[in-house]
Amino acid sequence: MEALLVAFQQVLQPQVLLYLILGTVLGLAVGTLPGLTATMAVAILTPLTFWLPPESGLGVLIGVWNASIFAGGISAVLLNIPGTPASIASTFDGHPLVKKDQAGLALGINVLYSAIGGLFGILIFLIAAFPLARFALSFGPAEYFALGLFGLSMMIAVSGTSVVKGLIAGFIGLALSLVGLDPMLATPRFNLGSTQLITGLSFIPLMIGIFGLGEVFYQMVTTLGQPQEQTKPQGERKGFSSLGRMLVNAKEFVQTLPATIIGSVTGVVIGAIPGSGADIASLIGWEFSRRTSKRKEEYGKGSIEGLAATCTANNSCLGGALTTMMALGIPGDAVTAVLIGSFMMYGVQPGPAMFRDKSDFVFMVIGLMILANLFFLATGFIFSRFAGGFILLPKPIMWSTILILSLVGSFSLNNRLFDVWVAFLGGILGFLFRRYQFPLGPIILALILGPIVERNFRTALIISHGNPAIFLTRPISLIFILGTALALASPLFLRKKRGQKE
């Protein structure tokens, strides 16, 4: 408790608060604009925060992350277009509420329940992360290898259209992680004789390319290829004062309580599973809440319970994802994979040792997460009223801003043009992957996990004198290996089951 108070003193400094507010405002903008994702924003802003002290820099990134997940619900409610993938399920009941002339209430639920979910996630992080990290300290190379493999397989299992494409994306990520020095003998590998590649591919410029530039190229061809239609949010048509009341009354609060609990718990659990993100959490949270509700028939037609469940689920997911990322060093989703890169930029390697050696840093992150949720709770009601006009920002301005920030941001990290070329090539790769429906998450996850998996795999084999049975004879490792097999086989079983039904 004392450490948490010290951390609060650290994050309550005016400079840190200022950067946290800046991050929250940027996150509100990013989340509201359809097409911009939290992952993209964190990737682009990471080099910009390089120049700041860790608490201020992370204040910006954590502010953006939390606020953008919440703000994605604004366009989901007003336009029926999710601002970020995490808000897909918010369209189910949010937009029907707008059609019932209850836009204010829908936006208010989005603000209030997102904050409740976010704070619940942090509470669970506070309770679970330290024991989990202590437990993980007993892991050996075999366990770490199996855990890394499990993380990779989970992302592939939930990666959509084709397991083969998910696996290819993961293996391409692993191949990219091979560039540089061999993690055990420091032998240069696949650096094409270039000194620029001797330390490996720059992770942050590559992420900026894949998630920033790639998204711009992709959006340009998809948006310009469609007939232009002007969708105006309700507030824009009727005037912002006509949105109606935003706060739920006592009766509605009691009515939404079970959905809030279900959404919060589902979000944290899904978030903690490596590879699954806020989009999956909100969909599952909504479905669980619908199944247990007394008013099932209202779901999908403007149910305040349905909206409360999705809003709490997608924000509580952040606490779960952070728990896995910080306690085990395994990213929960694409954003946390990018955040690992940001942490490393500040010289901090997420994992169990961080809780032992840098617990003040962990508490600082907790403090920033709590404040970020309180900030968007305080500003979200006002921002939601005016977001309608903001959504109509011309796409070319948005795209070109991302384009130039991505290019100059990649350069600014090391003052190296080579990094900008890496970002550009990453952008082309990101475009092709989006276009031909290869999931992007496994590449980033594999880039992070590749060196961990390789180092621990080889160390374990050296310990066992080359006997691979070491991975199956240690209980924790065996559990993760079985989990990996299950994760990879589950899409095949599901497809077979679906085929039998049809």
């Binding site: 290819i168 692993l174 032998t187 429906q437």
Partner: protein, 142 residues
């Protein structure tokens, strides 16, 4: 057909990595210490998956992608990629402000934005980017 081509590319990538891994110095003590050990596993994985995707793509002759781009969109995308390429080639030559202004203005035109707002917004974005990086972050641009 796109899946077939991606499959063939993945297969070829796997072969190149395997070839590169074979050329790495041999390990000492055990095979697991060999720097080429893990790359070979990755290479085999890529070859197997590439072959599966190529087979699936050939058999179905369909892509999970979003169909072919129109000629106009291909041209616009090509022009934007070419513009970024040119901007990076010219990086360090001339003036950052002028290069970026022209780059952004032409980007807006490629993105079908009107000329006058393009000019105005390009100027604002260029100046703000310059101020942000050179004045706030003390990055030396050109």
């Amino acid at each position: 057909m796109a899946d077939f081509l991606f499959g063939v590319f993945t297969l070829a990538l796997g072969m190149v990595i395997y070839w590169g891994a074979n050329r790495l110095p041999g390990g000492v003590l055990t095979f697991a210490l060999n720097p080429g050990f893990f790359p070979k596993i990755v290479a085999v994985g890529l070859m197997v998956l590439g072959a599966i995707l190529a087979y699936q793509g050939w058999k179905n002759r369909q892509t999970y992608g979003e169909g072919k781009l129109s000629k106009e969109l291909r041209l616009r995308l090509g022009a934007l990629l070419g513009l970024v390429f040119l901007y990076l080639i010219l990086w360090g030559n001339g003036s950052f402000l002028l290069n970026t202004l022209i780059f952004l203005f032409l980007s807006h035109i490629i993105m079908k934005y009107r000329v006058l707002p393009s000019l105005l917004s390009s100027t604002v974005i260029t100046v703000l980017t310059w101020i942000l990086f050179t004045q706030a972050f003390r990055v030396r641009l050109f």
